[in-house]
């Protein structure tokens, strides 16, 4: 098998294993990344919610916030893991699509493969 095929398989494996990125932090009691706290966490940390932050924070409603479905407020880690994998698959698919379209557009002009 070509090594690039193996790399694509590796990518698929990473997408399937992605819930580890959810399960391990939960298992070891690790919270948000530094500087990526929710408004509530900020209030606990510094005692107030910065006014500019409260104004800007709700600016964008992502369709799959934090790689989960909107309806999954306090779902179990099991169901969150499923939506994490779905998010990984959707994200990987869209990233590949955009990168290919962009790459084709860039490579298309005057870079033939004839060599």
């Amino acid at each position: 098998m070509k090594v690039t095929s193996k790399l694509w398989i590796g990518l698929l494996a990473l997408a399937l294993l992605s819930p580890l990125g959810l399960i391990l932090p939960a298992r070891f009691g690790a919270g948000s990344a530094w500087g990526e706290w929710s408004g509530e966490e900020i209030r606990k940390l510094v005692g107030y919610l910065p006014s500019g932050m409260s104004r800007l924070a709700g600016l964008w409603k992502a369709p799959l916030p934090d790689y989960s479905f909107r309806s999954q407020g306090s779902a179990s880690i099991g169901s969150l893991s499923i939506s994490y994998i779905i998010s990984a698959a959707v994200g990987v698919g869209i990233v590949i699509l955009i990168a290919i379209l962009l790459g084709k557009a860039l490579a298309g002009r005057g870079n033939s493969d004839a060599s």
Partner: protein, 235 residues
């Protein structure tokens, strides 16, 4: 390291958009000249890899989480300009679709993870592996060191962006309007966790993949996009 909306004031996120724009333009021009059609799937693979590896949150027990980015690995395989485009695509999709990183901060996040990280990391890789054979040990060591330094450089610039916010904007009561921690807290906090934990993860990941490619298909490794064209042209 994905700065959310509300953590940076307009001066900072505006300036970051202005700063990253020329890199996007230059990267497009560069790839326009050097990228070959058959390399496009590799760029897509690199972008997708970076996207998914950032989902692997690594915990510091009882503390924070962080993750590898993969930008230096992509830079070693495809060159820093292709890495800039690939990682930017991943970051933009993360922001728009998954709310990972704010939309006001796409410029800032791309500047840190899609410009500073791949270019600094690639520079370290070239420095360490200079003129060594493609199968040389210096290649994977250079890649690992590049990953380590690149991620830490990105963490530092991210921390500086956070840390200047309380000085740039605060109200009469002295409360910050955006990210509340000053440089003297933000920089050590971000630096320490990346120096001690997440940088190591990035280094191991980058070094392992490069070492694997050295054993299996070294042709994937020894020329970045920008050099491939020149090489093929010379043949």
């Amino acid at each position: 390291m994905h700065i959310p909306d509300g953590y940076l004031g307009p001066q900072t996120y505006g300036a970051a958009y202005l700063a990253v724009a020329p890199f996007w333009a230059l990267a497009s021009r560069r790839l326009n000249k050097t990228l070959r059609s058959r390399q496009v799937p590799l760029v897509a693979l690199g972008a997708a890899f970076s996207f998914v590896i950032m989902m692997f949150n690594v915990p510091i027990p009882g503390g924070t989480t962080g993750h590898a980015v993969g930008a230096v690995l992509v830079a070693v395989l495809l060159g820093p300009w292709a890495a800039c485009i690939a990682v930017s695509v991943a970051l933009i999709v993360q922001a728009l679709l998954f709310g990972d990183g704010g939309i006001t901060c796409i410029g800032a996040n791309c500047l840190n993870m899609a410009v500073i990280m791949p270019f600094v990391g690639y520079g370290v890789y070239r420095l360490v592996s200079a003129r060594s054979d493609a199968t040389s040990r210096r290649r994977w060591i250079g890649a690992a060191l590049g990953g380590y330094v690149g991620l830490n450089a990105a963490a530092l610039t991210t921390a500086v962006m956070f840390g200047i916010q309380p000085v740039l904007a605060h109200d009469a009561a002295g409360h910050a309007l955006y990210a509340p921690y000053p440089l003297k807290i933000a920089v050590p906090a971000m630096a320490l966790e990346h120096l001690l934990v997440f940088g190591i993860v990035e280094a191991v990941l980058t070094g392992l993949v490069v070492a694997y490619l050295q054993r299996t298909d070294v042709s994937l490794l020894y020329r970045a996009v920008s050099e491939t064209k020149q090489r093929s042209a010379a043949l």
